[in-house]
Symmetry: D2
Subunit: 341 residues, 4 copies
């Protein structure tokens, strides 16, 4: 058993980390911190954990030494304090946006401020196992990518790596309300956020820089909030290079993902669930990817889906931890999702 | 044209008052106040009104003299200031809970505080036209009842008045999130409030006192928040008196409501919409009432439905105003609701 | 008073026609036909109309002579019978897809069959008042465009007409379940259709031909079913021509729509409802259009929204009828939509 | 490893049985039958199982000998054929309504027909482990109770057994659309079933007989369909016997359920999730029970919640199988549910 700590355990990503780690046979949850809820039971804020744990939050300064540490929030407000906390863990998983972009200039452009911890960028390995599994085996600092970025990268990378598509793609991301976090303002009230198709990022969503960094493609991204709590779907338009066949596209996905435990290729000719559908993935660590292709016009539609809090966050972190520790990487990630739902 | 003012125009009830009054051929909206949004356009907070008005909010102290005044919030915080504002209108419609209970002791029991304006209670007429139409023709102070109370009273009163049921009834109210208002806390976040069946008032909901006051019945009330923005449904269990037939029940409703423009009796033997269904009433001023009866056991289920912001609030106020002014009481209340929805 | 008939009154478009025509001061509904429900009350299938009418469906062969006739279904199955019925009306509004594409070859390509009534194509005027108002004043055969096509055309046409954008645009349509009609199969079961982001037309949706025909642009269209009953939103990526400014785009919309009663330009810098949002339009005849533009890259996002059964169907038909008859074209179309919802 | 067969694998209960059994370390799924889909892959109808199995449906006559057999549908249509199939399993779990009521006369009253297999009633053990664990250890025929009945019995039985409540209770059941099954008619279309509060059983719902049989109480039951795919909540009004304290009620629950792995008592004074909330239980085998009590009036509200396809169906069957086979009864039932959702 190793000891795990969660810094920022009261948010939605914290809750999913707790759910998975409490069910992990190799892990003991040593502590979950919350400044606001210190001393309160974790199942007060995560009621699905009732009966599974008697743990209560501790203040950050009470964080004990741990083998692995998960940070759910940015170090922006207090980089020094964060560094001190991070030193209490041998391996650190950062689920904030801090370390996703390798280039501090790009960070500045997309986040509108100086990078808080540029000195950490060189050592951070991206917590996307499908692309970085070998590096993860020895990483001591892992940066888990953004939810829409993860879906887009997994959907696009086999095609980009095989040289099957032109560089410029357009990404239409659709996302549920849990992406806005557990503390949020009037725009996330049920009466306002229900039934929406809210184009909240019409042009230039931040995740497009992550997608470009990972795939080498130019990505133009739009994002819409939909009436769901969990779930991300990306619908991507691309143009295939001349001569590319549907078989070549399918082969590229098969080559990339045949051995992957958490990526499925979903591209059927008929049925209610022909393409990746996020509702089927709630609570699961799958990312489903699929496509439709018209060879005559070379129009290609690529689709990805995942649960933003699992494969788009906490699940990627746990899968990365499993790899880092040398365990079966599926451990504690076995829930396949539900149908109907 | 008469001049209407709305004190507290930025909330959800304020928005519905604006929608109806802007479409009312006899009314000019002279002002809508908002302390927080003074100077801002009303269609900023009520985006459905874009293109219908260029009105901006004014501060309460800028409220001009009006023929009719609508108050959407309690006078609790500042009874003196409220009285001064109220003096600027010839007829006042109060949509808060202040004047709903006639007995200040009952108010104290249910609201846990002293009544802020007991001196107003004697003159206030209840803004439920089906029960108080004659009094409303000359009323200068009208108190609009609560949304679940209105549905329950309209569903129960014909039976109570005709002496068809035993006194004790149990009321199960189901209500959407707009009942919590436009400013609300973490419990109303989309991620928390979606998909709920939240029993927020297990026993003794306040509206039971209003129901008892109006019908003379002892009412025990439970309330559940459901995953809807608008809409109230009450499902009421009662026991018929010995010998009561289904025909007698139906006749009591027919007698009470045959001439009512905004109450429909919905009690069919089959179909998808056999009983009152709030989704069909969104935006409309209808209250649908219905029942199912088993003569052998004398079990009686009574059901009522309405839009909490319309017939459960702003629509009742406008209908009362129409009566008070001697106009066709359906004026500006013609929207029948949608199907499918 | 003129006499109106609805052929195919039991479907969702038929229900909306009934709602509007029953509230129209110049129109008497002479008959609504239904083969399956002949003899049954119309408020049995359209429960929102309870209390508004005692009308029952008649069989098609019982259709009386009318001044205006609305057809909600294709003439495909029985062109001769349809022609005979159509002869009973002086002015015909066709809400099927039959007459939307002017070129029978294009129809064949997109619908996979020969055109059923090519002889009607020359006389049919498109029931999109914003583009064809003058022709509608004298039209005796009006073809109401598709719901996603209407939204896209209204969003794109001012820019296309002013020469502000490059030809190729990509259209991402999102649509609720009512677009599949009142009789539908297992894929539309609540348990299957709830919570979906169902990419049902990944490439080459039929409406793209209508968009191209109306705007002269090459349109590539994808369509996704979302968890809504009503509502269409189109999110369109375009590229502005060199030198185009945001002011020029805004001016093109203003010029086109300043005098239009049912198109609003919604493009704000902040707020929860910065861009067109279909939920605000349920039951209303508005089409909201908006955009976001990045002059440096010339990336342009254009957004349109409407209620597929109203401005995307029955509302356009009624507005066209109002124009044809010389009435105020807003008659019976005054409901502005709701907030919150 | 034992061999399990599912007769009727293509429905929603069949899908949940497959999900659990495919993840069960002691069970091999030998066959799942479907008359309609024989030869087709099971992940075609249960898309959440993609990647977990290559199984295809077989026709019922191809059902092999099994150690355990699960029947998801009634034997009504073909009792002889059913008996022949049942003979291919050593232990049979019946998830239909056939064997839930012990008295054939009661069956006749509630189901309106003669009992199809009265000869099986004597041997059938109820698959509700909390009440029948000892009998289940040796049962060869297990009848899984109805979803709303399970929730009600688990919520009421500790109080009934301890003699804390008067006999007559009223049960208000709320249920999602998956309870209507995977093949369903127009009333379950998304456009009709969305947003409903549909009182489909106003008086005398069938499950009330099961509740009475198990608890000895007289139960009067109403049922409402709500806008959810999964989930059951029962809200029960009861009257405590004179002198009963809140502490006594809490003690009764604690005594009954302290050692139960799948029943949690949820009855808090504050919080968003004070009482049992079905959305937190989707996919989990928990039944949460709770209560609110006013000692002065002896009014008692009892609340139960579960996932109708899991603890209200397939999960109860698997838990019963685990008990019957002598395994840890939590095996394959570890998923705790999600928050937020």
């Amino acid at each position: 058993m190793i000891r795990a700590g969660i810094v920022g355990g009261a948010g939605y990503i914290g809750g999913e980390l707790l759910r998975m780690l409490l069910g992990h046979p190799e892990v003991e949850v040593a502590a979950a911190t919350s400044t606001r809820l210190s001393g309160r039971r974790v199942d007060g804020s995560h009621p699905n954990l009732r009966g599974l744990t008697d743990l209560s939050y501790v203040a950050p300064e009470q964080l004990p030494e741990c083998d692995v540490l998960f940070f759910t929030a940015s170090s922006l407000d207090d980089p020094a304090g964060r560094a001190e906390l991070a030193a209490r863990g041998k391996v650190v998983f950062d689920l904030s946006a801090d370390l996703r972009l390798k280039d501090p200039a790009l960070y500045r452009k997309h986040y509108g401020r100086e990078h808080p911890v540029p000195e950490l960028l060189a050592d951070a390995v991206s917590g996307l196992p499908e692309l970085h599994r070998e590096s993860l085996r020895t990483a001591d600092l892992v940066s888990v990518p953004g939810c829409m970025a993860s879906a887009s990268i997994l959907a696009l990378n086999p095609l980009a790596a095989a040289g099957l598509i032109e560089s410029r793609v357009t990404v239409d991301g659709r996302v549920g309300s849990s992406g806005s976090g557990a503390s949020a303002g009037e725009m996330n009230l049920h009466s306002e956020r229900s039934n929406v198709l809210r184009v909240f990022a019409p042009l230039g969503h931040r995740h497009q820089a992550e997608i470009s960094q990972a795939t080498g493609l130019e990505a133009l991204m739009t994002a819409t909030g939909v009436d769901a709590v969990r779930g991300v779907q990306v619908v991507i338009r691309a143009t295939a290079r001349p001569g590319v066949t549907e078989a070549a596209i399918r082969a590229a996905y098969r080559t990339a993902y045949a051995a992957e435990p958490f990526v499925r290729v979903v591209a059927q000719k008929r049925g209610n669930y022909r393409f990746p559908e996020p509702k089927l993935l709630l609570g699961s660590n799958y990312c489903d990817v699929g496509f439709a292709y018209d060879a005559a016009s070379r129009e290609l539609l690529v689709i990805g889906a995942l649960d933003n809090l699992v494969k788009g966050g906490a699940g990627n972190a746990v899968q990365s931890m499993n790899i880092r520790m040398g365990w079966d990487e599926r451990t504690a990630l076995g829930f396949p999702g539900l149908h109907p739902i």
